[in-house]
Amino acid sequence: MTDTIRTEGLTKDYGAGRGLFDLDLRVDAGEVFGYLGPNGAGKTTTIRQLMGLSFPTRGSAFVFDLDCHRQAVEVKKHVGYVPGEPPQFGGLRGREVIAYLGAMAGGVDQAYVRELCARLEFDPGRRYREYSSGNKKKLLLVIAFMHRPKLLILDEPTSGLDPLNQQEFYSMVREARTAGATVFLSSHILSEVEHVCDRVGIIREGRLVTVASLDELHQIRMHRVEIEFAGDVPAEAIRRADGVEDVAVENHRVHCVVRGSFEPLMTAIAGAHVVNLTSHEPSLEDSFLAYYSGEPREAVATSC
């Protein structure tokens, strides 16, 4: 496969240890690449370099073998982009913003625009300032997808979207990949990239730590689980379950850590009378640190 995105020693040094350092990254044509990292890790800095919006301190970035800095205009003929921070179009209506930016991008299929709006349940007739943050994100997604680009660069594209629209977005990404497009998607939510990505790059403090496959990503992902049983605890079955660690039994309660899939744990407790089950997903950084240091830290996110 040829590289759609290639960076060589890409560095953007903001001083005081902030920025992006020595990034060597390759994204293959036709793949969905997740770019994961906690807030401030350097995801947006990388994307801005790819878009030619900021310039490298050293190193270089290429899209379709075009230099992102020197051939920025040519690069953008092939790219659809969702910025992390939405612009402020004030009193323009959604369809006016689409017409305005669509004319610059060129090759926009109006029927496809209408289809995208319908899929995302987006009303393009309202004024931009009246849109919620979720609707602004939908508009940016329509703009990014509307000219069927060969590369989609999406900076935290689902922030602000409700779960139903997130699912629709995942469908759109899969369809784009099926049509031959490459997708570069940044996120700080582990579960999100699991939905759609083929490979994942993890960045922390400006440095690419690893590029992992989805299987490796599942290893990184962990949950702290607490299960309360009405009767006896199937402790041995739980301890034997794949990916289940640090099992502690206290009366009718079990505390454990689950890495990867929940299926082995569910199989282990099948048949037991479960009264309550609570799962806490730590932040990406905590999961990541725990994976590489073997020391789970305090959970910060909660899901049931």
Binding site: M51, L53, F55, V73, P83, E96, M104
Partner: protein, 537 residues
């Protein structure tokens, strides 16, 4: 809350403080040079200025003791400066209401359990403090300019500073109240400007016709003019001061009430009717065309300034004949109006006053255009544009082309209105002269736009401040150069000076070439700077 709100005014304090300081300083320092040092020369100077004042009533308050330095500074600096601080009050009030809400600062403050009343009070207090500092800077400028030339009466200076502070405060409070009625920042600016300009014109009307004196007391500008405290025999008009205080407090209270009864980011009176039809309307095809799309986005700016040009052209050309008829027999006036106008005083009046005023309007128009470019940068629109296959130089080229087109429209409307009005009042202007006076207005406005393009391309947050200072210094040089007998090259540092007097004499080609050089260099440099700049940081 108060500290943060005050911080938001820091550039206003610096910018307007400098303008007030420099203006009062120069007028004070120049008094001896323009009025002489003897009582006789000063009396003669005062008489000639009295004549001039009657013709400049749209710009200057009624003269009072112009044979004294304080009286002259009060008339020449403190008089027209209200037109400058008025812009600050309108812009600051609109930003304090709609700007804060657009940036979701108000959501944050309300979530932090700041009450709506406290928020309004804090914003008024913050501007009050900022305006006080700027007014004190004006007083300091006066003291520095008068030092060594005139004994400074600190009590009178404090009184003048108080009235200047109050006019800023009352205008801010009124605009703050008006901003509650509309939903957008632009709407707040337009409504505030419209009401304030009407109030100003009411005062102007009374300056030239005593029949309107009673009506003029509805205008805060009248309350300001009524105090002549800086002049040796002047007085502080207690009624004007009291009205300023009462209206400020009342407007602030009503604004708090209005804010308590409306949604954040909503207007006090929301309108639903007619919304559905415009929601379904197809976008304008202009949005798909380069240049036209930028012009479309700035259409209200262009239309607004075109209307202002038309109104002012109609007003100034309309009064030309009657003003000249009334003033032509006054000593010195005939020479003043016929100098350079082939002995035609009406033509002289229109050349000096209408085309002179058009320069100020076009400088304002250019600054408004540049503020749109700067906003595109700070609001992420430039990032969105550059995310498409658009070269950076293309952005600057498009701005230049849109500025040319917009300026042509504004100038054309103004000049057409002037020509039609002159025919309507029985004094048809020569079409060739109108054309000769009009087309150099285009490079004049574009000179400001080009300087603004440089700063908006590299340092957008500073663009408006720099242009404001350029306009002010340019105006000052234009005023002072003939009085202080500066050499031509120094006078030509003023953009106004570069325009010349093409309506009355001929095109000032040196100035025109200089303006064209600035335009080409400015937009060229802007393209280079944008090419080398990181966007969106």
């Amino acid at each position: 809350m108060l500290r943060y709100a005050f911080r938001l005014h820091r550039w206003g304090i610096i910018g307007y403080g400098v303008v007030l300081l420099v203006s009062a300083y120069f007028q004070g320092a120049a008094f001896e040079q323009v009025a002489g040092t003897t009582a006789a020369s000063r009396a003669a100077f005062a008489r000639s200025m009295d004549l001039l004042a009657s013709q400049l009533s749209y710009l200057l308050p009624p003269p009072f003791q112009l044979d004294t330095l304080p009286g002259y500074v009060q008339w020449r600096s403190y008089g027209p400066i209200v037109l400058v601080v008025m812009i600050w009050a309108i812009a600051a009030a609109a930003a304090a209401v709609r700007g804060d809400e657009d940036r979701q600062l108000v959501d944050y403050w309300l979530a932090a359990r700041v009450s709506r009343v406290r928020l309004v009070a804090s914003r008024l207090a913050a501007f009050g403090l900022a305006a006080l500092l700027a007014a004190v800077a004006g007083g300091l400028g006066y003291a520095l300019g008068a030092a060594g030339h005139w004994s400074i009466d600190w009590g009178r200076l404090a009184g003048k500073t108080l009235t200047l502070w109050l006019i800023m405060l009352v205008l801010f409070a009124l605009c703050y109240l008006l901003a509650q009625l509309v939903q957008t920042l632009r709407g707040a600016q337009v409504l505030g400007a419209a009401v304030v300009v009407v109030l100003y014109l009411v005062d102007v009307l009374a300056r030239s016709n005593s029949a309107f004196d009673g009506l003029s007391w509805i205008s805060p500008f009248k309350w300001y003019d009524a105090s002549t405290i800086l002049a040796p025999a002047g007085q502080l008009d207690i009624a004007g001061v009291a009205l300023s205080v009462v209206v400020t407090v009342a407007a602030g209270g009503l604004a708090a009430l209005a804010f308590a009864r409306r949604d954040v980011r909503g207007a006090l009176f929301s309108r639903q009717a007619g919304a559905a039809a415009s929601r379904d309307a197809a976008p304008s095809p202009l949005l798909s065309l380069p240049v036209a799309s930028l012009l479309y986005r700035q259409r209200w700016v262009v239309a607004g300034w075109a209307v202002i040009m038309v109104v002012m052209a109609v007003y100034m050309v309309g009064i030309a004949k009657s003003v000249v008829d009334a003033a032509i027999d006054l000593p010195g006036m005939h020479d003043f109006l016929t100098h350079g106008s082939a002995g035609d005083p009406i033509r002289g009046f229109i050349g000096a006053f209408w085309f002179g005023f058009a320069l100020l309007l076009l400088a304002g128009f250019a600054i408004h255009l540049v503020s749109g470019w700067a906003s595109d940068d700070t609001e992420g629109i430039l990032t969105a544009i550059l995310s498409n296959p658009v070269p950076r130089w293309g952005v600057i080229a498009e701005r230049a082309a849109a500025a040319i087109a917009g300026t042509v429209i504004v100038v054309a409307f103004g000049s057409l209105a002037a020509a039609l009005m002159s025919a309507a009042v029985g004094y048809p202007l020569d079409a060739g002269a109108v054309f000769r006076g009009s087309w150099p207005l285009i490079p004049f406005a574009l000179t400001y736009a080009a300087v603004g393009a440089v700063f908006s391309a590299y340092f957008p947050r500073a663009a408006i401040g720099v242009l404001g200072i350029l306009a002010f210094v340019s105006f000052l040089v234009y005023e002072l150069a003939p009085l202080l007998k500066w050499p031509t090259w120094a006078a030509d540092l003023s953009v106004q000076q570069l325009y010349g007097t093409p309506f009355l004499t001929d095109v000032y080609w040196t100035g025109l070439w200089a303006m064209l050089a600035v335009i080409v260099a400015g937009f060229g440099l802007a393209a280079l700077l944008l090419q080398r700049r990181e966007v969106g940081v």
